[in-house]
């Protein structure tokens, strides 16, 4: 069975959930081999094995984590030459897509981004990726027709499923080119030390919009999110107004999320916003305007004042969790 390279997303200690999702998808086509840059591969082996990694290629050489994207692209290109994989899967995050773009140029392959599913093609050939475009209005199935397919898959595309693998550790040595060392990360500035899950990875996202009214009121959204173990998002209206940091913007010009549950609070649901959340599995809406287009997407909606509904909801969840 041919190998499928999976670029592992991690923070040096723990494996990010999207990595387990990619391993789950990779098993549909071949033997997943995780590619781990930087420290921590040894410790992560067990977790990767649990989700079916047959191999773990690890490289902790000089500079692997000092530069953005370029080292990962060089390591993957070297492994593609060495292992002739049937496909390369990366997370469809800003950084993952950057790696994919560079790798595609290096190995002359086609690349698909933002896949929400990946299935074997009828009669073999490159896997078929499902993408959701134009703000979620159209579902497209596409495939790579040239080179070794590179597919960037959105976090939360599939639930991770455990299946035992060997996770045989193989150290690889790649000397980074000067070109890969062009953009050096000199400082990590942590403005928000948050215990919340990462926005694109979270299973539940609670977002606030114009209806929230000001920055202070976002505490309501955060309070509800924390009860649910959710990430906090915001509509463009809210980030443009400076009520919530821009990196949490969900929408056409912000992040795209597909959580199990998306709660839109005080968000009208313009195309700008829908483009970033329409593929969520379950959508709940709280908005005082019954005509708000966001209700068209709602599996459950409450027409009402968010300043009454949200505190009551938070309280009711607390009560239920307590019992």
């Amino acid at each position: 069975m041919s190998e499928i390279l999976v670029l592992a997303a991690h923070d040096g200690e723990s494996v990010k959930k999207v990595t387990l999702e990619l391993l789950t998808l990779a098993r549909r086509f071949g033997e997943p081999a995780a590619v781990w840059l930087g420290p921590g591969a040894e410790a992560a082996r067990e977790r990767l094995a649990e989700y079916g990694a047959a191999k773990v290629y690890a490289t902790d050489g000089e500079g692997m984590t000092d530069y953005v994207a370029a080292p990962a692209a060089e390591v993957l290109a070297a492994l593609v030459a060495q292992a002739s994989p049937a496909a390369v899967l990366v997370p469809s995050t800003a950084e993952g897509k950057e790696v994919a773009g560079r790798l595609a140029v290096k190995i002359g392959s086609g690349v698909l981004t933002d896949a929400v599913d990946l299935s074997p093609a009828d009669g073999g050939g490159a896997p078929v990726a499902e993408q959701s475009i134009f703000g979620g209005a159209i579902v497209v199935k596409s495939r790579v027709t040239g080179g070794i397919p590179i597919v960037a898959v959105r976090p939360n595309a599939v639930p991770p499923e455990a299946a035992p693998g060997e996770a045989a550790l193989e150290q690889v040595t790649v000397a980074l080119s000067d070109a890969a060392k062009g953009a050096r990360i000199t400082e990590r500035v942590i403005a928000e030390r948050s215990e919340r899950p990462e926005l694109t990875e979270a299973s539940i996202v609670v977002s606030g919009g114009r209806g929230v009214g000001n920055a202070e009121n976002f505490a309501l959204i955060e309070g509800l999110a924390d009860r649910l173990g959710a990430a906090v998002g915001a509509s463009r209206a809210a980030t443009d107004a400076g009520w919530y940091p821009h990196q949490f913007q969900v929408g056409q010009t912000g992040k795209t999320v597909s959580p199990q549950l998306y709660l839109a609070v005080g968000i009208s649901g313009a195309i700008q916003h829908r483009a970033g959340m329409q593929t969520s599995k379950t959508i709940m809406v709280i908005n005082k305007d019954p005509e708000a287009p966001i209700f068209e997407l709602a599996d459950f909606g409450v027409v009402g004042d968010l300043f009454k509904v949200v505190p009551q909801l938070t309280e009711e969840i607390t009560r239920r969790q307590g019992s």
């Binding site: 953005v68 994207a69 800003a94 897509k97 950057e98 994919a100 773009g101 560079r102 595609a104 140029v105 002359g108 392959s109 086609g110 690349v111 981004t113 078929v128 959701s132 475009i133 703000g135 209005a137 159209i138 579902v139 497209v140 596409s142 495939r143 790579v144 027709t145 040239g146 080179g147 070109a179 062009g182 953009a183 050096r184 000199t186 500035v189 403005a191 928000e192 948050s194 649910l228 821009h246 990196q247 010009t253 549950l261 483009a275 959508i283 709940m284 709280i286 068209e296 709602a298 599996d299 459950f300 409450v302 027409v303 009454k308 509904v309 505190p311 009551q312 909801l313 009711e316 239920r320």
Partner: protein
């Protein structure tokens, strides 16, 4: 400083966008074209850097004749000149081919800094800046929410969930920006008038020295197998808050096993 801003004309995101049934490609004819929203931030940043450090801002666009509308808008914002790569041979180019075509032009025109929006609102692949950097062999500074140039050194704030990373490089470089970086200016009347006289170099594939076999639909290494309209979501349950909206919402969450 020689600054080139890559600009794409895209269908207006407020309109209903669709694919053509015959070839699964974006139906551009039925929708108004506008400058890709994120590119306006790239243009603004280019103009600010040129104002602060001296130099010229060139707009580079690949696209059909109609894309000249977006070039005019960029020039009326204050860019100095433009290059418009337009050729039927380019139709249907995927990201790999587009990056090849643009990189070929950039190598020809020369640059200290290439600036792009972080993605286009139509294809949304977000691949182009990385592909250009790879092809041009220069550093990429991506997701920039702040750009500082000092002589040959460039530093950006790369947006992250936890805050930002400071990333440093030496020019020439490719920068992609997020909308937090600035507030794009509106073209002034004077700017609109001046734009009419600004030079726009129109290049064909042959003029630019691009191998026609490596671009366009024929060279594409990705294909659409099929597409369909997303089936409308099944109508959900909408309740009016009568003092128990929060409790009812919690009941729904419990029934769905979220709590």
């Amino acid at each position: 400083m020689n600054i080139v801003v890559c600009v794409k004309q895209v269908p207006d995101t407020w309109a209903e966008r669709t694919l053509r049934p015959e070839d699964s490609r974006l139906d551009r004819a039925s929708v108004d074209g506008v400058i890709n929203e994120l590119d306006e931030y790239a243009i603004e940043e280019g103009l600010r850097l040129a104002e602060a450090h001296g130099g010229e801002v060139t707009i580079l666009t690949m696209g059909p004749e109609k894309a000249s509308e977006s070039i005019r808008k960029a020039l009326s914002m204050g860019a100095d000149k433009a290059v418009h790569l337009v050729d039927d041979a380019l139709e249907g180019s995927d990201a790999l081919a587009t990056s090849l075509a643009l990189a070929t032009v950039l190598q020809r025109t020369g640059f200290d800094l290439v600036i792009l929006g972080s993605e286009s609102t139509d294809a949304r692949t977000g691949l182009l800046a990385a592909m250009l950097a790879e092809r041009l062999g220069c550093p990429q500074l991506s997701l920039a929410s702040k750009v500082e140039v000092d002589g040959n050194a460039i530093t950006i704030h790369r947006q992250a969930d936890y805050g930002y990373d400071k990333v440093e490089a030496t020019l020439p470089a490719v920068v992609s920006v997020v909308e937090k970086i600035n507030e794009p200016r509106y073209p002034s009347f004077k700017g609109i008038m001046a734009a009419k006289k600004k030079p726009v170099e129109v290049l064909s594939v042959a003029d630019a020295g691009i191998d026609p076999a490596q671009v366009g639909l024929g060279a594409a290494v990705t294909e659409v197998v099929s597409f369909s309209k997303r089936p409308p979501r099944e109508a959900g349950t909408i309740v009016k808050d009568e003092g128990d909206g929060g409790v009812k919402a919690a009941e729904f969450l419990a029934a769905q096993k979220f709590i």
